[in-house]
């Protein structure tokens, strides 16, 4: 019959006969942590040693104290703060002679070591195999949730950080000494920036809880408290689509279909195959459209996330122009030309007006009355609805990059779109984010049955081209101004970085 380690070490005859005997152990003196200040001696002497693995405290100053499952005795020295010793360091307890430890005149045990732990030999052998040193530093789900709630009470934004002064005021409520708190800060503030992110805050809070519960602070930050480890354990926030607000002209009430909200999920491949308003519908145009959409769609967005909004087939080709009295179909049936739009205002380009493109492209009443510019020519004739058929189904693709692909007969005017995230919907945006280029537009080839355009209409087209060139010139000038501003900002940034280098030099060995 071979003896195991526990039997050899303790040589208990009762254990050899199959009887479980609990053998108390005494912690070694070298593992005790002596306190510096007398106040903490008195305060810590009254509280038993606790485990940080217990449920999180209800509030930072008052930590919940739950004893370990193995059971510590309630005896505690008034001069030493005891910690569980490694299993190899424990010695069998010799029963002291004289009065029993429970009596009123009981003497303290050897070296006033008061932390007595009871173990069976079987439990001793099991715990030798377990990874005991990492246990106190493992953050449970319950603790993590509590730490996150505490962080949010100080900083509502989880992706932000807590400044040093706020964290100092918060952590001093734990009643730990300043040197210990300073050391905990050194361990938890991994990037040494004087502020705590959420993982760093959780690590610091857990170290404080562990220290309050009697565990000695580690020499280095344990792997389970590293920011990378804790960051991976946090639930990742759901990816929210950004909100875009359009400043373009909206359709009039009589042109808006009733079922605009009808959404259909399609894949990117299917989206490229919807009817394209071209004359012959060649494969080249389809391929170009498919390439455009594949480039615009980010890699991490699944194909099922792309939604299409199909408009009814009786919509007019130009969705952006409103007519007061008659619809386009009635006008086409009568063979009338649509009414001429009001004249454009005179373009006086300045820095302020270049930043606000709406003033360039929207008509204004005073300019209309002044009559400085001749009214623009009539629009070119549109194909009949019978010729158009169901091929002209207009769709607007809503997907993660929020790129609108619209189809119209002539190149549309540049539409100014403003990026407004949910959390910054009220903030003013920079001009660089607001001034985007014109959206990608696919032009419709004229139908072969359309009547030949008169010279007047050709002049109208040339005038429209000239107007678009002027708009392009405005955009180019705006682009150059923004580029200049960007260059100045870059130079300023480089200067600031140089100053930062002088303030905090890079270590070069």
């Amino acid at each position: 019959m071979s003896k195991n380690d526990g039997e050899i070490r303790f040589g208990n005859p009762a254990e050899l006969h199959g009887t479980k005997v609990q053998i108390p152990y005494l912690t070694a003196d070298k593992n005790s942590f002596k306190r510096m200040d007398d106040e903490d001696k008195q305060q810590e002497a009254q509280s038993p040693t606790m485990s940080p693995l217990a449920s999180p405290p209800s509030s930072p100053p008052h930590y919940q104290r739950v004893p370990l499952s193995h059971g510590y005795s309630k005896l505690r020295s008034s001069t030493e703060q005891m910690h569980p010793a490694p299993y190899e360091a424990r010695q069998p307890l010799v029963q002291p002679e004289g009065p029993s430890s429970g009596g009123p005149g009981a003497k303290p045990l050897r070296h006033q070591a008061s932390l007595i732990r009871s173990f069976s030999v079987e439990r001793e052998l099991q715990d030798n195999n377990s990874n005991y040193p990492d246990e106190p530093w493992r953050v449970t789900e319950e603790q993590r949730e509590y730490y996150v709630n505490q962080f949010r009470s100080l900083q509502p934004d989880p992706s932000s950080f807590i400044s040093g002064s706020v964290a100092k005021n918060f952590f001093t409520k734990s009643k730990l000494s300043i040197p210990e708190l300073s050391y905990i800060w050194e361990l938890s503030d991994a990037d040494c920036d004087g502020a705590l992110t959420l993982p760093e805050f959780c690590a610091a809070f857990h170290l404080i809880v562990a220290r309050k519960n009697g565990y000695p602070l580690p020499e280095g930050l344990p792997p389970t408290l590293q920011p990378e480890y804790l960051q991976a354990a946090f639930p990742k926030p759901k990816w929210d689509c950004a909100l875009f607000e359009s400043y373009s002209e909206s359709m009039s009430a009589n042109q808006q279909p009733r079922d605009l909200n009808r959404m259909e999920k399609t894949s990117v491949k299917d989206m490229a195959d919807f009817p394209v308003p071209t004359q012959d519908g060649t494969a080249d145009d389809k391929q170009a459209l498919k390439n455009t959409m594949n480039e615009a769609l980010p890699k991490d967005v699944s194909e099922d996330s792309v939604k299409l909004c199909y408009f009814p087939s009786d919509l007019p080709l130009s969705c952006c122009r409103s007519y007061s009295s008659t619809s386009i179909e009635e006008a086409m049936k009568r063979g009338e030309d649509p009414p001429t739009p009001p004249p454009r205002p005179q373009k006086t380009h300045s820095r302020a007006s270049s930043l606000d493109l709406n003033k360039v492209f929207q008509p204004s009443a005073p300019a209309t009355k002044s009559g400085l510019l001749p009214p623009p020519p009539a629009l070119p004739p549109r194909p009949c609805p019978s010729q158009v058929g169901d091929r002209f189904n207009f769709c607007k693709a809503f997907y993660s990059t929020q790129i609108d692909i619209s189809y119209s007969q002539a190149p549309s005017k540049p539409i100014r779109r403003k990026f407004r995230p949910e959390n910054q919907s009220t903030e003013n945006q920079e001009p660089s984010t607001a001034a985007g280029g014109p959206t990608s537009v696919a032009t419709v080839k004229p139908h072969p049955t359309v009547q030949k355009q008169s010279s007047k209409q050709k002049k109208a087209i040339q005038t429209a081209i000239r107007k678009n060139k002027e708009a392009n010139a405005v955009l180019a000038r705006l682009n150059s101004e923004l580029q200049q501003q960007l260059k100045e900002v870059h130079q300023e940034r480089i200067a600031l970085e140089n100053q930062l280098e002088q303030l905090r030099p890079v270590t070069v060995l």
Partner: protein, 109 residues
């Protein structure tokens, strides 16, 4: 010796301030050599002075190595000051800073 080195550092800083306003080289170089020791200086933008005293018999240490060592010390000192529980002017009681200084000393020796 250290106090004398501090006086020399102050004089060097004032001289540099008059001559070159824009050029702020924090490393002051050799301040005060005596028979057995050499004192090197370094001043930060916030006028914190570092004085490093080296044994003269140690010929392995060149000027650029001492400069890089003091720069490293300055960097870790900056990290230590970022600790909100440290009050500027108090005695430095940081284990991490002690480790850095010890590693520098071991590297020198």
């Amino acid at each position: 010796m250290v106090h004398t080195s501090m006086d020399v550092a102050d004089k060097t800083i004032s001289t540099r301030g008059k001559a070159l306003v824009k050029q702020r080289e924090p490393y002051l170089g050799l301040l005060y050599p005596i028979e057995d020791y050499k004192a090197y200086g370094y001043v930060t933008n916030s006028k914190v002075k570092f004085v490093m005293v080296v044994d003269s018999s140690n010929t392995a240490l060149r000027d650029n190595e001492i400069c890089s060592m003091i720069r490293k010390l300055h960097s870790f000192c900056t990290d230590m000051v970022c600790n909100p529980f440290y009050n500027p002017g108090d005695r430095i009681q940081s284990r991490a800073f002690d480790k850095v200084v010890t590693s520098i000393m071991i590297q020198v020796c």
